[in-house]
């Protein structure tokens, strides 16, 4: 079965979505990712969706859910590389993903994760 690979990079997990997401794939990713976070005791998750061209309300909600779940498991989540069209669609759908941190590309996302982990409580807001 098709799966989205989750790569371990030090204390972070890197998820790169390179295919069109369908509902089952999103659910599998949710399962895999939560398991991986627990297994590797990861403190940061970086989800790269730069190749994602089409989103619907379900996928949008899944992204939000995955981020919330990671946070519950004490891993900061950053979504990076969202396409303009995807961003507009999500906003029009009313899914502005509150609580999900975002960055323009993987590099900036990594930096953001490092900064937030370096902060004492591990949940430093990027606006500080």
């Amino acid at each position: 079965m098709e799966r989205i690979p989750i790569l371990k990079m030090g204390e972070f997990l890197l998820v790169t979505i390179q295919v069109d997401m369908h509902d089952r794939l999103a659910l599998t990713l949710q399962d895999d990712l939560t398991e991986m976070i627990v297994k590797n005791r990861a403190h940061g998750v970086l989800i790269d969706i730069s190749a994602l061209e089409v989103v619907d309300s379900f996928i949008g909600r899944m992204l939000g859910n995955i981020a919330s779940m990671s946070r519950v498991l004490d891993a900061a989540t950053v979504v990076v590389g969202m396409q303009p069209a995807v961003a507009i669609t999500l906003v029009e759908l009313g899914l502005s993903l509150p609580g999900v941190r975002t960055a323009l590309n993987v590099e900036k996302g990594m930096e953001l994760l490092r900064v937030s982990l370096a902060a004492p409580n591990g949940h430093a807001d990027r606006q500080k």
Binding site: M82, P84, V86, A87, I88, L90, V91, E92, S96, L104
Partner: protein, 284 residues
């Protein structure tokens, strides 16, 4: 209506050249003639094509219905003339007079040809209705082409009025001028997001100094733009909020709490520079 029994087709066919000369004379002497916009040769050509079109059409088609296929050629000629004149800057009445001025020579000809009163009145009524319809068609096309011009200008304005400028490495500014409606917000949002991707900017300053009024709808559009930029990983600062607008926003109960707002673009720029790690030193 007398329909097929009308003598109109026969009279027009017989006296076409004469009618044409009279018609052109009528047009050139009329006050609505615009020699500055249309040369006499062109006018003559247009009149000739239209009259021969009418002659062909009424021999085959109905007099009281110009929507049929027989009138196709006439309609096309009128469309072309009307569009051309609309673009050249003719007024609506000047354009419509092109058709209506045919009445005078046509009626004169009918009067010369038909002696009895009753048939004459009938024929004149038929001719008058026909020309009225053609005239109305001309005006409609004129109106439509003017609307097309307006529409195109609106689109031009839409693109002109939403520039995204790069203020600093990683800092974009979006000076908004004019009222924000849904269509414009869409363009603004797309432009901004596209530029964020291109430049990799982390901060965008949306300056609303030029936005005359902010109601709930405009505020919602602004918030949407900010949310979309945030999803892409760029922070937005809204600047240029005038005192009146600040009051309106609060009175309307719009929640801008999640967005950084500054009174002036200068203040916003300072914040943006601090965020990017740049420092400002006043030189001597």
């Amino acid at each position: 209506m007398r329909g097929t029994s009308s003598r109109l087709p026969e009279i027009i066919a017989k006296h076409e050249q004469d009618l044409l000369d009279q018609w052109i004379k009528e047009q050139t002497s009329s006050a609505t003639r615009r020699p500055d916009l249309l040369s006499e040769a062109d006018l003559r050509e247009q009149s000739r094509t239209l009259l021969s079109g009418i002659r062909n059409a009424i021999q085959r088609g109905r007099l009281d219905d110009i929507t049929g296929s027989e009138w196709q050629t006439v309609r096309e000629v009128l469309n072309e003339v009307s569009r051309g004149r609309a673009q050249m800057g003719f007024s609506p009445s000047e354009t419509a007079t092109f058709v209506f001025s045919l009445k005078q020579p046509l009626f004169a000809r009918l009067r010369a040809e038909i002696r009895e009163t009753d048939p004459l009145v009938d024929e004149m009524w038929a001719a008058s209705t026909l020309l009225d319809k053609l005239g109305l068609h001309t005006t409609e096309v004129y109106q439509k082409s003017r609307e097309e011009v307006i529409l195109r200008q609106q689109q031009d304005m839409l693109e002109l009025s939403t520039p995204v400028v790069e203020l600093w490495d990683g800092v974009l500014a979006l000076p908004l001028i004019g009222t924000l409606d849904s269509a414009r917000t869409q363009v603004v949002m797309e432009n901004l997001l596209q530029k964020i991707v291109q430049t990799g900017a982390g901060i965008a300053i949306v300056d609303i100094t030029g936005v005359p009024t902010v109601d709930t709808l405009v505020a919602q559009h602004l918030l949407k733009t900010v949310a979309a930029a945030r999803l892409m990983g760029a922070d937005c600062i809204i600047s240029g909020i005038r005192p009146q607008i600040a009051q309106t926003i609060v009175h309307l109960g719009v929640d801008l709490g999640s967005v950084i707002t500054k009174a002036s673009l200068a203040d916003a720029f300072v914040v943006a520079l601090q965020r990017t790690g740049a420092t400002i030193n006043k030189g001597h």
